[in-house]
C-alpha cells in the first residue's frame, strides 16, 4: 500500500509558503502580517521534515526544532513591538507607520 506521495507534501509546503508571502505583502493589519510570517516558517518546517523522511536522516528534524525556537522568540519580540506601536500610534495599519518617509 502506498502512502501519500512525497511530492504532494512539497507542493503543499510551496503553496503554504506562497500564501504566507502574499499575506505578508498584501495585508494591511500588522497582526495578519505576523501570522503570515508564522505561516511561511511552518511551510519551511514541513519541507524540512519531508526531505528528512526522504533521505532517512535526522538532520531535518533537528533543524525544524531550531526554526520553531526562532519563530517563538521572534513572535514574542514582535508582539511586544506591535503593542508599543499600537500604544503610540493607536493604529494597526502598517501603511500609517511611516514617519521615516522623507
Amino acid at each position: 500500500m502506498h502512502g501519500v506521495p512525497l511530492s504532494w507534501y512539497l507542493i503543499l509546503s510551496a503553496v503554504l509558503f506562497a500564501l504566507g508571502v502574499s499575506g505578508f505583502i498584501l495585508r494591511r493589519s500588522v497582526i495578519t502580517v505576523f501570522m503570515s510570517i508564522e505561516l511561511m516558517l511552518n511551510a519551511v518546517n514541513l519541507s524540512f521534515i519531508t526531505f528528512s523522511y526522504q533521505w532517512k536522516q535526522v538532520n531535518g528534524h533537528i533543524f525544524s526544532f531550531f526554526v520553531m525556537v526562532v519563530a517563538a522568540a521572534e513572535a514574542a519580540v514582535g508582539l511586544a513591538i506591535i503593542l508599543t506601536v499600537f500604544k503610540n500610534r493607536a493604529t494597526l495599519n502598517i501603511d500609517d507607520v511611516s514617519s521615516m518617509k522623507d
Partner: protein, 608 residues
C-alpha cells in the same frame, strides 16, 4: 684663513639689526651696521695680505651642500686676483656708503630696516664674489636681487617705489632663467658646477655647446647688469634711497654680471660667437643709453642711464677679449659713479628733496665740497687724462679698435655723449642762481675719499697688469691716435655742455625744438617701457586672466571637482528612494532580493 668671516660679519649685522633693531638707538644701529662692514673690509685686507701674490687661487671648502647622482656641489669659497679686486671694491665702497648713509638717512623712518637690508646685501654680494662654483654664485646672485627689491621698495608706502621693486625683480628673473639653463647645460656637459673643473676642461668641449652655455650666461648677465633688452628696471630703481642707488645700482650689484662673465673667461674664449654677442650688446647698450641720458631732467635718471651705458662699456671690453680692461673699468666706474650718486644725494638733500635739474642752480657756493668732489667724478667719467676713467676707458677702446673698428667709433661717440650729459648735470645744478645748505660732515668724508680715488685710482691701481696672470695680458694699442681721438671727443663733450648750459643757456631749447621728433624720442626713452608693456606684459596678464584663470581654473578644474560632488549627490538622491519609510516596500525588496539570490545560486550550479 677663515674666508667665511668676510660675508658673515655683515650677515650678523643684518640679524642683529633686523631682529632687534627696533629697540636700538641710532648709535647702536650705526655701530652694528658700519662696524660689521668695516670688520669685513679689515678681514679682506688681512686675508689678502696673508695670501701673498695670489698667482694661483686659494680655495676653502666648508661642507658638501648637494650630493645627488653625478652632481656634487660644495659650499666653497675661493680667492684669486679677480676675487681680490672685487672684494676690495665691494667692501671698500660698501663701507664708505654705509658711513654716508648715516647722514643721509638720519631723518628717514625705518632706519634700522635700511641698515639691516644693506648689511644683508653685503652678505649676498660677498658670497657671490667669493663663490667657487656656479651654484654658490647663483645663491649670491639671487640674494642681491632680493635685497635690491627690498631696498628699491624701501619707501613701501609709495606705489611707484613698490612697482619699481617688482619690475626690478621680475626682469632680473628673466635673466636668472637664462642663468639656470646655462647651469643645467654645464652640469650635463661637464658633470660639475665647480669653477676649477669647468674651466680646466672647457677647451675640450665642442664649440657649439660652449656657445650655448655662454649665450645663456649672457642672458643672465644682461638681466643683472641692465643691458639691452633687460635694462628697463634700472632707471626705475632710482625710486630707492640714493645710497642704495650708489651702492647697488652703480658700484656692486650691477657689476655682478660683468664679474660673472670675466670669471667664465675660459668658456667665452672658446666660444668666439658668444664673445662677439657680448661686445655687440655692450656697445649698443652703451650708445643707446647715452642717447637717452642726454635728455633726462631728473638728476638720478641721468646717472642711471649713465650706469647702463658704462656697463655697456664693460661688456664691450669683455667681448673683445680685454677681460681685465672690463674689470678695470668696473673698479674705476665704482669710484666715480658711486661718487656721482652720493653727490647727487647731497644735492637732493640740500634742496630738501628736489630732483629735477631744471629747478636747480647756483649750488656751487652753497655746497662747495659737494661741488668739488662731483667735478672730480665728472672729469673722471669723461675720460680726461690722467684721471681714473681715462685709463680704463682707453684700455677698452684700444682693445675694441684692434677687433672691430666700428665699435671703437661708437664707443668714442658715446664717450663724447657721456662727457656731455655728466657736465650738463653739473652745470645745471651748480651754476646759475639758487639756495641750499651744506651737508653734515659725515656725508662729506666718503665723498672726499671717493673723489681722491676717482682722480688717482686709475694710475695707482693698475688692474690689467694685476690681472694679467689670470685673464691674459692687456692689449697695447699700436699707436697713440685712437687714444687722442677719444680724449678729444671727451673734451668736445665737456665744451658742448659748457656752451649749452653756461655760456648760451637759450641754446638747449632751440636745439630741442629744432630736432623736435628726435628729441621727443630720446626724452621718452624710445618708448621702450611702453613697447614692452604692450607687447609682453599686457598679453601675458590678459592671457593669464582669460585663459588660465577663467577657462582652465574656473571651468575645467573647478568643474571637474565640483562635478564629482554633484554626481555623488545625484546618486545619493536616487538611492534615497529605497528608504521610503513604507514597510510594505521593504518587504517587497526583501522578497525580490531573495528570489534573485536563489536564481543566481541555481544558475551557478547549486550549493553542492
Amino acid at each position: 684663513m677663515l674666508l667665511w668671516l668676510i660675508p658673515v660679519f655683515p650677515l650678523l649685522g643684518f640679524l642683529l639689526n633686523g631682529m632687534l633693531g627696533r629697540r636700538f638707538s641710532k648709535g647702536v644701529i650705526n655701530t652694528i651696521a658700519i662696524g660689521s662692514v668695516l670688520l669685513s673690509f679689515a678681514w679682506v685686507i688681512k686675508t689678502l695680505l696673508g695670501l701673498g701674490d695670489l698667482k694661483t687661487g686659494y680655495t676653502e671648502q666648508y661642507f658638501t651642500w648637494i650630493q645627488s647622482g653625478i652632481l656634487s656641489v660644495g659650499m666653497d669659497f675661493t680667492v684669486d686676483r679677480l676675487t681680490a679686486v672685487m672684494l676690495l671694491v665691494v667692501t671698500g665702497i660698501g663701507s664708505l656708503i654705509h658711513i654716508y648713509s648715516i647722514g643721509y638717512m638720519a631723518h628717514e623712518g625705518g632706519y634700522y630696516r635700511f641698515f639691516a637690508y644693506l648689511n644683508l646685501f653685503m652678505f649676498f654680494m660677498l658670497t657671490l664674489v667669493l663663490a667657487a662654483n656656479y651654484l654658490v654664485l647663483f645663491v649670491g646672485w639671487e640674494g642681491v636681487g632680493l635685497c635690491s627689491y627690498l631696498l628699491i621698495g624701501f619707501y613701501f608706502d609709495k606705489k611707484f617705489a613698490t612697482d619699481a621693486g617688482n619690475k626690478a625683480f621680475i626682469v632680473n628673473r628673466i635673466g636668472d632663467f637664462g642663468f639656470s639653463l646655462a647651469m643645467f647645460l654645464i652640469v650635463v656637459n661637464f658633470g660639475s658646477l665647480d669653477f676649477g673643473v669647468v674651466f680646466s676642461s672647457a677647451a675640450t668641449k665642442p664649440e657649439g655647446t660652449l656657445t650655448a652655455i655662454a649665450l645663456l650666461l649672457l642672458v643672465g648677465a644682461c638681466g643683472k647688469s641692465a643691458q639691452l633688452p633687460l635694462y628697463v628696471w634700472l632707471p626705475d630703481a632710482m625710486a630707492g634711497p640714493t645710497p642704495v642707488s650708489a651702492l647697488i645700482h652703480a658700484a656692486t650689484m650691477v657689476t655682478a654680471g660683468v664679474y660673472m662673465i670675466a670669471r667664465s673667461a675660459a668658456i667665452y674664449t672658446h666660444a668666439p660667437a658668444a664673445m662677439q654677442a657680448v661686445a655687440i650688446i655692450g656697445v649698443l647698450t652703451a650708445f643707446f643709453a647715452a642717447t637717452i641720458g642726454l635728455a633726462q631732467n631728473d638728476i638720478k635718471k641721468v646717472f642711471a642711464y649713465s650706469t647702463v651705458s658704462q656697463l655697456g662699456y664693460m661688456f664691450l671690453g669683455l667681448g673683445v677679449g680685454a677681460f681685465s680692461a672690463g674689470i678695470y673699468h668696473l673698479m674705476t666706474h665704482a669710484f666715480f659713479k658711486a661718487l656721482l650718486f652720493l653727490g647727487s644725494g647731497s644735492v637732493i638733500h640740500a634742496l630738501s628733496g628736489e630732483q629735477d635739474l631744471r629747478n636747480m642752480g647756483g649750488l656751487r657756493r652753497k655746497i662747495p665740497w659737494t661741488f668739488v668732489t662731483m667735478v672730480c667724478a665728472a672729469v673722471a667719467i669723461a675720460g680726461v687724462p690722467p684721471f681714473a676713467g681715462f685709463y680704463s676707458k682707453d684700455a677698452i677702446l684700444a682693445a675694441a679698435d684692434q677687433h672691430y673698428p666700428w665699435m671703437y667709433w661708437l664707443g668714442v661717440i658715446t664717450a663724447g655723449m657721456t662727457a656731455f650729459y655728466v657736465f650738463r648735470a653739473i652745470f645745471m645744478a651748480f651754476f646759475g642762481t639758487y639756495r641750499g645748505h651744506e651737508q653734515p660732515g659725515i656725508m662729506l668724508v666718503p665723498l672726499v675719499i671717493l673723489a681722491a680715488l676717482s682722480l688717482a685710482g686709475g694710475a695707482l691701481f693698475k688692474v690689467p697688469d694685476f690681472l694679467a696672470p689670470l685673464l691674459g695680458a692687456p692689449e697695447e694699442g699700436k699707436d697713440i691716435g685712437p687714444m687722442l681721438i677719444s680724449v678729444a671727443f671727451g673734451f668736445g663733450g665737456i665744451f658742448l655742455a659748457w656752451l649749452f648750459y653756461v655760456a648760451r643757456p637759450e641754446l638747449p631749447d632751440r636745439v630741442a625744438a629744432g630736432f623736435g621728433g628726435l628729441y621727443k624720442l630720446i626724452y621718452n626713452k624710445y618708448f621702450v617701457d611702453e613697447i614692452y608693456d604692450a607687447a609682453v606684459v599686457t598679453p601675458l596678464v590678459s592671457g593669464s586672466r582669460e585663459v588660465l584663470w577663467k577657462a582652465v581654473d574656473a571651468t575645467v578644474i573647478d568643474g571637474t571637482v565640483n562635478g564629482i560632488a554633484h554626481r555623488a549627490r545625484g546618486m545619493g538622491g536616487v538611492l534615497k528612494l529605497l528608504q521610503s519609510g513604507n514597510i510594505r516596500s521593504y518587504a517587497t525588496w526583501v522578497l525580490l532580493g531573495s528570489v534573485v539570490l536563489l536564481l543566481t545560486i541555481g544558475v551557478l550550479g547549486g550549493l553542492r
